[in-house]
Symmetry: C2
Subunit: 433 residues, 2 copies
């Protein structure tokens, strides 16, 4: 299609939206060359408060509107970039843009995780592209590899550190031996964690991202509701100490595996071998390890969030959308047909476990614990008696197991808690090696 320029409409001028606007304006020459014609920012839907930001003064005032209908009435918008975030009204705006024949680009993980399948159907029907490279892993190319580079592979597994906030907190806990509340507080003071940190520390953000990756990797419709998720708030500095003694680091892992053609998806803290690359991913960085039948192991690493990195992904999506428009291609980026793979219930997954317990400091305790585990067909890999509290007459013991089924482990945990000699089960962490 011969076009003199491609029109861009941007919804949202927050941290990410503002940076996207800056890139589109400041790098117009480079982007035009890459896309094949100028990309012209035609309208920006803002909130009144956005207009007070210093950035707003760098952008021609006539581009702004606070009115959604006015935004959608603007002629000549070929590509709509949604940078509002959250589920609503972003979902409504994306649908409205697609229904109006606009290609859409969004870094919104929540909308894509929850409504990606529906949006893909709509985009396909309308013959437009739906792109969301920025929704997972900031600027790290992650969506594109699944859609293009790894298409010949059967993907067997994904092991990902995809939440920078929790990885920052875990890194501080591991390095400094501090407890969770202190590490969280420090992360909040530094702006790495929000005032209400639940979304990050409870694994919610990570499970949205995993839904997106798993859907792509297995060509299935994996919804957030399908994904077991736990956060990191139960972790204690003692767990980090014992992990290190046993040769592990502790990470919040997002795991997706194909086991007997059924999909296993879960987000939780996990022991990972200290000499693995994932164990070396520190601070706010993200890393995603993918295992394919041809490619073997590939790992993608980088800044998982931040306005600059995310703007790299969003702008690349805009350029690809523009190329599609110029080439008259409509559905290159729209998901293909979906497989009918089932999601494995959490109770049926199999992994190894680390257990930390406070027990009565008396003989025969280990025999009782071993019997409970043995009765549930869980075999012990290592037992370490740690500190003894002679005043309380208790001892701390740490047990790691060979692979066992989650159901059996949960049953055993219930039985252990009812043993008179077990004072407290302090923690229970899955071991992925």
């Amino acid at each position: 299609m011969e076009k003199e320029s491609i029109g861009i409409g941007l919804m949202g001028l927050g941290i990410v939206g503002g940076q996207v606007a800056k890139v589109l304006l400041e790098k117009a020459d480079i982007l035009a060359e890459q896309a094949g014609c100028p990309l012209v920012l035609r309208k920006i839907k803002v909130l009144p408060a956005d207009l007070d930001r210093p950035l707003a003064r760098e952008i021609p005032a006539e581009l702004f509107t606070t009115d959604t209908d006015e935004f959608f009435a603007e002629p000549g918008i070929d590509i709509m970039v949604e940078a509002i975030g959250g589920e609503n009204p972003a979902l409504e705006y994306l649908k409205r843009a697609i229904s109006g024949g606009q290609h859409v680009v969004t870094p919104n993980k929540e909308v894509i995780a929850k409504h990606g399948a529906e949006l893909h159907v709509l985009a396909r029907k309308q013959g437009v592209g739906l792109r969301y490279e920025g929704s997972v892993g900031g600027g790290i190319p992650l969506i594109a590899p699944f859609k293009y580079d790894l298409v010949a592979n059967k993907i067997n597994g994904i092991y990902a550190i995809i939440n920078g906030t929790t990885n920052y907190i875990l890194t501080r806990m591991a390095r400094e031996g501090i407890d969770f509340p202190s590490a969280l507080k420090s992360a909040q003071e530094l702006g790495y964690a929000e005032a209400n940190p639940e979304n990050d520390i409870e694994g919610i953000d990570a499970h949205y991202k995993l839904a997106i990756l798993a859907s792509l990797a297995f060509q299935a419709d994996v919804r957030p509701g399908d994904i077991y998720h736990e956060g990191i708030s139960r972790l204690d500095s003692r767990d980090f100490r014992y992990a290190r003694e046993l040769g592990f680091a502790i990470k919040l892992l997002a795991i997706a595996k194909l086991v007997n053609n059924s999909i296993e998806v879960r987000v939780h803290s996990a022991f990972v071998p200290e000499d693995s690359l994932l164990a070396k991913v520190d601070g706010v960085y993200n890393a995603i390890l993918v295992e394919g039948d041809l490619v073997g192991k590939v790992l993608f690493f980088g800044e998982g969030a931040g306005a600059l990195a995310t703007s790299s992904a969003v702008t690349a999506d805009v350029v690809s959308s523009a190329q599609d428009i110029l080439h008259g291609v409509s559905d290159r980026a729209v998901r293909k047909s979906e497989s009918a793979r089932s999601i494995k219930p959490m109770a049926e997954i199999e992994t190894q476990y680390y257990l930390r317990m406070n027990v009565a400091d008396q003989s025969g305790v280990l025999a009782q614990i071993s019997r409970v585990l043995g009765d549930n067909r869980i075999s012990i890999s290592a037992v370490i008696q740690k500190e003894t509290d002679s005043a309380a007459q208790t001892a701390e013991i740490v047990i790691t197991t060979h692979p066992a089924q989650e159901k059996a482990m949960q049953q055993a945990l219930g039985e252990l808690a009812r043993l008179g000699v077990v004072k407290e089960i302090n923690n229970f962490i899955r071991v992925e090696s």
Copy 2:
């Protein structure tokens, strides 16, 4: 374009070509779904010896030809996959296919490094695609990120471990303290190094790959001849010991940087900080660290070679070419215009240095050495006197420097060698931190 199928012609049935044929035949269903129509292997150009391989019996005999003209006369070949390797006749075949209107896919680093610019011009003229994802880093997506995902970035630097053979040798030397000849011999016995290992151990393979990456990253025509390259054969087990003491690993690095709009490209062994991700890349694995102005640091890691991993990249390129053909898109994958950036002469690069020397064990030696370095405006970062040989009355000293210009360092090395007290300059390694 409505097509019932896309025809593939394959040249070469060696290790990589054989694996590509297997994937095209065994994964035909998946690939058809991804591409949008069946991909049909129509002809395979083989050598007579290939027909004796067990694989050949799994492939319908009528697909084979040993005659190049017969191969090119075969009707219905839309995409030609070149898996012959080496410069000639691969170059000639690629030109012939492109001139005949076939899209081409090749994992041939030598041809692309030496003749990529010419082939791109020809492909653009013919309106066909030229793809070579498998030429660098096996199945790791590396070419695609530069062409699509990072297009909004100004790439400032690439730091890459892109030769698995040398990385395997260096890993063995670091872990076991063995010397270069033993590590090489072991790598040869295990099939990780060839009988004539020059291409790998002298940095030739790596400099081809760097030419390809640098050309993409900087949108320039960087030729192998532009790239300074050294191998790893001068490394001694003592260097590994001292590196570790100083907090470094030794890697064969391929470096491409943009410095004041001029391109710096070099391949040589280097000290890299032990806590960096590149230092953790062991064995035959590859890793490529890219620094962009928006994306920050991103790293791609995986198996850098091997038939399976390379077939992942080649097949993905075939699928993308097929999509282009079906969509009637001709030049999406063809390089855009090139910048006129100059290549920085090696003498002008600036980095830090490690020096290991054998000197006379007498007072005033260090003063003489310091004076030579100081006269060349090289400032010392650390000096360590290592072992003393009382019989020979010599001592080994290790010096690391602050950033200095290569020209100055080479001048200083010459002057040091002429000092009476310097018995031998044992090694000289660049430090990249």
